[in-house]
Amino acid sequence: MSELLTKSRARNVFYGGSIFFVVVFVALTAQSHRHIVDKATAGMPLTEEVRLGKHVWERHSCINCHTLHGEGAYFAPEVGNVMTRWGAQGDPELAYEILDGWMKAQPSGIEGRRQMPHFEITEEEMRALAEFLRWADQTDTQNWPPNDAG
């Protein structure tokens, strides 16, 4: 083996092979990009309101307690399917009302219970956040999560 695989051959295999895999990866990523835009997330339009909702989600660093499509911190419930769990996926008004009611009741202050902080969020932003969560929920995530518990 040591005669067949010299150092320079090993180096060439490393560089050549890596370039090959980068090319394959970039091609598949480009195809996935189109799939996401045209199919997986096409069930609901990506409106200005949804965009605003995403910024609200980001500004308050929700991801560092919750998971969204299973990614994030593991300290608080999954929210990628929260609208389904609340039975509000098909009803924007209901989605807003439940979300607004929930968030205004935080922090609960109950001893021994994980505390969600209080966030200063306007009505417009709260509606946008609800829309963003409905938009996330309609994504084709290959049937993940396994059940409504998230």
């Binding site: 990866f25 980001e58 500004r59």
Partner: protein, 451 residues
């Protein structure tokens, strides 16, 4: 220390150890919030502490890598660093940026993409620092002797800096956002950082074991080839459930299975080199950390990674405490322990004195490694129960969490061991000025070939 400019590594290592302390103390607080959730809940909520914990980790590991590069590139290239001044400017930018980020988090200013929460000005600061670094190290590298170690190190560092560009790309489409986010996160820790790890490990093996350079360098190319061949398409294991096409389930499963290979190879490499090496190097602590790093990386990144990477398994375990278990042991083994190996090796040389605080250093290895292993086990048990109750039975998240209190309590206990180990390490590096246990006499054995 053969070259004066290697001294800049000292400042990098000091800054890294400072952030290391902040990182583990933040982690301890998070562990306590799991046990007693009302702690500081209004002043310093969980999400803020977690940003400090993860960001401090990432920055100190990078500072360690940069410091390691400034230490080993002169020695490998056989010349001084192009500009010592630029190296210090780069460090200043990174330290100011990090402290600025922590300060912003405390007053509630941050982005919302996990691990990339830094305010925009800090992100630009990191970009500028990265450009300075690449410029400085590349000019040193190009002017001098080129070795496999520096070739691989430079490839890894260039690619990781280039991937930072994706930290600025945040599509409005959540699924696209997630896909490109992994270009930074996955392609750092499961591809480019592995190159840096292999290069540093190779350098340490060269110095500590005295094995022939040819042998070490051939191993290195094979290791990094397996790392990138598996790791690039292995990114697919993050694309299973984010809206990407279904074919990633097969590509991700197959290629991330092979991601075990480079970690197994690095562990074998380290042990074989020590076995073959005839050098009785006095720095036993650095050797322990090097072997420990490659071993724990194999278990944390390799075994615990494989545990939940197949899509049929990941469908149920995705986003549970299983992920947290894997994340902790993988980062500790692959990158924390490797950096501490480099610090243990280089600090005595940078301070121009014998490595005479090794016993405490080695004690800190066992304290930290034992603590991290225990933490991983408790989180794995918690994650197993969570997966069953939540994903199979369908119980609600908080009902399940209420059943996991015992594991979180045990995890907090292991966190105390890790923090004590980390503080002991820093103490042994910076404070102790004598060996606490007298070593036995040196026995002269076979002639020691140099490198």
């Amino acid at each position: 220390m053969k070259y004066q400019s290697q001294k800049v590594a000292y400042a990098y290592f000091l800054a890294a150890m400072g952030l290391f302390g902040i990182q583990v103390l933040g982690g301890l607080l998070l562990g306590w919030i799991y046990v007693s959730p009302n702690t500081l809940s209004e002043v310093l909520p969980f999400n803020i502490v977690r940003m400090i914990h993860t960001n401090a980790l990432i920055v100190w590991l990078l500072l360690g890598f940069f410091g390691a590069a400034y230490y080993l590139v002169p020695e490998e290239s056989e010349r001084e660093i192009f500009s010592v001044k630029l190296a210090y400017i780069q460090l200043a930018i990174l330290v100011v940026g990090t402290l600025g980020a922590v300060g912003s988090y405390l007053v509630g200013i941050h982005g919302g993409r996990e691990f990339l929460e830094q305010p925009l000005w800090v992100k630009f600061g990191i970009l500028v620092a990265a450009v300075i670094f690449l410029f400085n190290v590349s000019l040193t590298f190009l002017a001098g002797r080129k070795t496999a170690i520096t070739n691989i190190l430079m490839t890894g560092l260039w690619l990781l800096c280039l991937l930072w560009v994706f930290a600025f790309i945040n599509p409005d489409n959540l699924s696209l956002d997630k896909m490109y986010w992994w270009f930074v996160v996955h392609l750092w820790v499961e591809a480019t950082w592995e190159l840096v790890m292999a290069a540093i490990l190779g350098f340490l093996m060269l110095k500590l074991t005295g094995v022939d350079r040819e042998v070490i360098e051939k191993w290195l190319y094979i290791i990094v080839a397996t790392a990138l061949f598996s790791g690039i398409l292995g990114t697919g294991h993050h694309f299973y459930w984010i809206g990407a096409p279904g074919y990633w389930q097969w590509i991700g499963s197959v290629f991330s299975t092979f991601e075990v290979v480079p970690f197994f190879a690095m562990m074998s490499f380290a042990f074989v080199m020590v076995w073959k090496g005839r050098k009785n190097h006095p720095n036993k602590a650095a050797l322990l950390w090097s072997l420990g790093s490659s071993t724990v990386a194999f278990f944390g990144a390799g075994v615990w990674g494989f545990l939940h990477t197949l899509h049929g398994v990941n469908y149920y375990t995705h986003g549970t405490q299983i992920t947290a278990a894997h994340g902790h042991l993988a980062f500790y083994g692959a990158y924390v322990a490797l950096n501490l190996a480099m610090f243990s090796y280089a600090m005595p040389l940078l301070r121009n004195r014998a490595p005479y605080n090794q016993v405490l250093n080695m004690a800190s290895f066992w304290l930290m490694t034992g603590g991290m292993a225990f933490m991983t086990f408790t989180l794995t048990f918690a994650g197993t129960i969570q997966t069953h109750m939540q994903r199979i039975v369908g119980d609600y998240y908080m009902d399940v969490q209420d059943q996991l209190g015992l594991f979180y309590l045990m995890r907090f206990g292991s966190g105390i061991a890790v923090v004590l180990g980390a503080l002991l390490f820093i103490y042994s590096m910076l404070v102790v000025r004598r060996e606490v246990v007298k070593p036995g006499p040196v026995v002269k054995d076979a002639a020691v070939p140099g490198e």
